[in-house]
C-alpha cells in the first residue's frame, strides 16, 4: 500500500541478462534444492518404507506402501500429540504472543526513556538468547525446591514442569517469542497515520474505538502475516524438548513426537510419515492464511 508513484522503469537496469542472472542465482538455488526441497520430497518416499535407524531394516528397507500412514492416522498417540500441538500453537502463539506483542507495541508506542528501552531489551533478549540457555533459565526458575518462582509465589514443593508440562511450555513460548510480534506490530503502528487517530480522538472515540476503527483496518495485513509466521514457527518448535524432555507424553507436541519416534525409537519410516502429515497440516494452515490475505487484497482493490 505504501507503493510510491514511481514510473515503471525497465527491467534489468544493470544489463545483467538472463544468463548471468541465472548464474548468480544458481548457488542459492542449488543449496536450497539440495538441503530444503530434496529433504521435503524425500520425506514423501521415506514415509512409505519401514526404514529403521539400526538393525536389518536399516540396510534393507523395503516398501510398506501406505501402512505407515494408515498406522499413524489410526494411532491415538498421534491424535493426542496433534491435539497438544493445537493447544500449544493457539495458546502460545495465536493468543499469547500475538496479543501480548500487540499490547506492548501499543502501550510503548508513545513512551520514551528508560522504561521503553528496558522492556524492549528484555523482550528481545528472551527472543535471541540461545534456546539451550533459556531452557536452563526456565528449569532454574521453575525448580521444585530451589526455584525462584516457588519462592516468590509461596508454592514450594510444586514441580511445575512435571505437574503442568503443557502450561509450562505455553507460558515459556509466550516469553520466548513475543518479541517478533512486538517488533512487527511496532513497525505496523508507525504506518497508521497520526492524523487519522487524531481525527478519531477529536470525535470522541475511546481507546477501543480508535483501535477498532482506525488501527486494525490499517494493520490487518500485518496481523495476518504475523499470525501465519508465528503459527508455523510454533508448530515446528523443538525447544520444549529442552525443557520437558521427550518422554512425557503429556507435553509431547508433534516435533517432539517425531523426534521420539524416528531418532529415539529408531523408526525412521514411521517418523517420516508423521513428518509428512505435519507438512501437509502446515501447508493447509499457510494456505488458509494466504487465502485470508488475498481476500483482504481483493476487498481493497474492489
Amino acid at each position: 500500500m505504501a507503493r510510491t508513484a514511481s514510473p515503471r522503469a525497465a527491467e534489468d537496469p544493470a544489463g545483467l541478462g538472463r544468463a548471468r542472472a541465472a548464474g548468480i542465482a544458481a548457488p542459492a538455488l542449488l543449496v536450497v534444492l539440495a538441503f530444503l526441497v530434496f529433504p521435503a520430497l524425500w520425506t514423501l518416499y521415506l514415509g512409505t518404507t519401514n526404514y529403521r535407524l539400526t538393525g536389518f531394516a536399516a540396510r534393507h528397507p523395503h516398501s510398506v506402501g501406505l501402512d505407515n500412514y494408515t498406522n499413524v492416522v489410526k494411532d491415538p498417540a498421534f491424535h493426542h500429540s496433534l491435539w497438544l500441538t493445537f493447544e500449544y500453537v493457539v495458546g502460545s502463539a495465536v493468543l499469547g504472543q500475538a496479543l501480548l506483542g500487540f499490547a506492548i507495541a501499543w502501550l510503548l508506542r508513545e513512551a520514551a526513556g528508560w522504561l521503553k528501552r528496558l522492556i524492549e531489551a528484555l523482550v528481545l533478549l528472551a527472543w535471541i538468547l540461545p534456546s539451550s540457555v533459556v531452557a536452563f533459565l526456565w528449569s532454574a526458575l521453575l525448580d521444585r525446591d530451589q526455584g525462584t518462582f516457588n519462592a516468590l509465589a509461596h508454592t514450594q514443593g510444586t514441580a511445575w514442569v512435571v505437574e503442568h508440562p503443557m502450561a509450562v511450555i505455553i507460558v515459556f513460548n509466550i516469553w520466548r517469542g513475543t518479541a517478533f510480534s512486538m517488533l512487527l506490530y511496532s513497525a505496523a503502528l508507525t504506518g497508521v497515520p497520526p492524523t487519522q487517530l487524531a481525527t478519531a480522538r477529536m470525535f470522541g472515540a475511546n481507546q477501543w474505538q480508535q483501535l477498532r476503527d482506525v488501527v486494525f483496518p490499517h494493520i490487518r495485513g500485518h496481523i495476518l502475516t504475523n499470525l501465519l509466521l508465528i503459527s508455523l514457527w510454533t508448530f515446528n518448535d523443538f525447544t520444549p524438548y529442552q525443557l520437558t524432555g521427550g518422554a512425557d507424553t503429556r507435553s509431547q507436541i508433534l516435533p517432539v513426537y517425531i523426534y521420539q519416534t524416528a531418532l529415539f525409537d529408531g523408526q525412521m519410516g514411521l517418523g517420516a510419515a508423521i513428518a509428512l502429515l505435519m507438512l501437509v497440516i502446515n501447508l493447509v494452515v499457510a494456505l488458509v492464511y494466504l487465502r485470508l490475505l488475498r481476500e483482504r487484497r481483493g476487498e481493497r482493490t474492489a
Binding site: W42, L115, F238, A272
Partner: protein
C-alpha cells in the same frame, strides 16, 4: 512519556488516572515476567555454590576457572563461532546474489516460487525434515562435518534471507544502476559499486539474523554431529553433569553466561547502531 497536556488532562479526569495506573501496573508485571527468568543468568555464574535459586551469597569467579579447564567448553564456543560465521557468510553471499537477480531480471512466477520456498523453509527447518536431513547428511558423508551443518543451516535460512534482501533491492530505485550503466559500468561493477553498498543495512540485518539463528540452534547439530570435539555450545551445555548424574550447576551457569555474551553484545551493537526494528523487511 506523554506530553504535559496529557498529564494535565489526567489530573482533571479520574478515568484517565485509572487508565494510567492500569497501564503502569501492566508494564510492571510485564517487566517482572520478562526479567525474572534472566536473573539466574546474572547471579548463578558468580555464586560459589550455585543452586537453582537466585542469590549471590558469596561472589566468586571460580566457576569460570573450572570452565576453562573443561576440554569441551571453550572449543565448543569456537565451534559455534565457525558454524555461525560460515553460515552467515554463505547465506548472505548467496542470498544477495539471488535476491538481486530475482529483483531485477524478470523470471516468470518468481514471487510464487519465493513464497513457496519461504513456507517450505519455515516448515522444514523445524523438525519435519529431520529424518531425511539426517539421511542426506549420512549419504553425503556429512555427519560430523562442519560443512554439512553449515549447508543444512544455509539451505534453511536462504529463502527468508532472499526474501528480505529482495525487499531491500526492490525498494532501491533503478535509476542508480541505470545511471552507472550509461557511464559505462559493467554489470558486475554496478553490483559491486552501487548495489551492494546500497543494500548494506539489509546485509547487516541478514547477517545478524543468521548468526543468532545458528548460534542458538540445538536440533540440527544435535542430530548431525556425533563427535564431542565438534559439538557447538548449544549441545555442550547438555553435557555438564556431575558423577551423580545431576546437572553440574557450577559449569552450566558459568557456561550459559559465556555462551550468551556474544548474543547480548550483538544485540547491544545492533540496537545502538541501527535501532533494533523492522524496516521494510516485512511485507504485508
Amino acid at each position: 512519556m506523554r506530553d504535559t497536556s496529557a498529564a494535565a488532562a489526567a489530573a482533571s479526569d479520574p478515568g484517565a488516572v485509572v487508565r494510567k495506573i492500569g497501564r503502569y501496573t501492566f508494564l510492571s508485571v510485564l517487566l517482572g515476567f520478562f526479567a525474572l527468568p534472566m536473573l539466574w543468568l546474572a547471579s548463578a555464574p558468580f555464586n560459589a555454590h550455585p543452586t537453582l535459586n537466585v542469590s549471590i551469597s558469596s561472589f566468586t569467579l571460580h566457576n569460570f576457572s573450572v570452565l576453562l579447564k573443561d576440554p569441551y567448553a571453550l572449543p565448543s564456543l569456537w565451534n559455534s563461532l565457525l558454524l555461525a560465521g560460515g553460515t552467515a557468510l554463505l547465506t548472505v553471499g548467496f542470498a544477495a546474489a539471488a535476491a538481486y537477480a530475482l529483483s531485477r531480471v524478470r523470471v516468470p512466477g518468481r514471487n510464487g516460487i519465493l513464497y513457496a520456498l519461504l513456507l517450505l523453509s519455515s516448515i522444514v527447518t523445524g523438525t519435519a525434515a529431520m529424518v531425511p536431513l539426517f539421511q542426506l547428511a549420512f549419504k553425503l558423508h556429512l555427519i560430523d562435518s562442519r560443512l554439512g551443518v553449515i549447508l543444512v543451516f544455509t539451505g534453511g535460512l536462504l529463502p527468508a534471507a532472499i526474501f528480505i534482501l529482495k525487499d531491500f533491492t526492490d525498494n532501491t530505485p533503478k535509476s542508480y544502476e541505470e545511471s552507472a550503466r550509461v557511464f559505462g559500468a559493467s554489470p558486475f561493477q554496478i553490483i559491486r559499486h552501487i548495489v551492494l553498498p546500497m543494500i548494506r543495512p539489509g546485509l547487516a540485518t541478514v547477517t545478524v539474523w543468521a548468526v543468532v539463528n545458528v548460534w542458538g540452534n540445538f536440533l540440527i547439530p544435535y542430530i548431525l554431529v556425533r563427535n564431542p570435539d565438534k559439538y557447538p555450545a548449544s549441545v555442550v551445555l547438555y553435557t555438564f553433569y556431575t558423577e551423580g548424574g545431576q546437572p553440574n550447576l557450577d559449569l552450566i551457569s558459568a557456561f550459559s553466561l559465556l555462551y550468551s555474551i556474544p548474543v547480548i553484545v550483538l544485540y547491544l551493537f545492533v540496537s545502538h547502531r541501527y535501532g533494533f526494528r523492522f524496516h521494510g523487511g516485512i511485507k504485508r
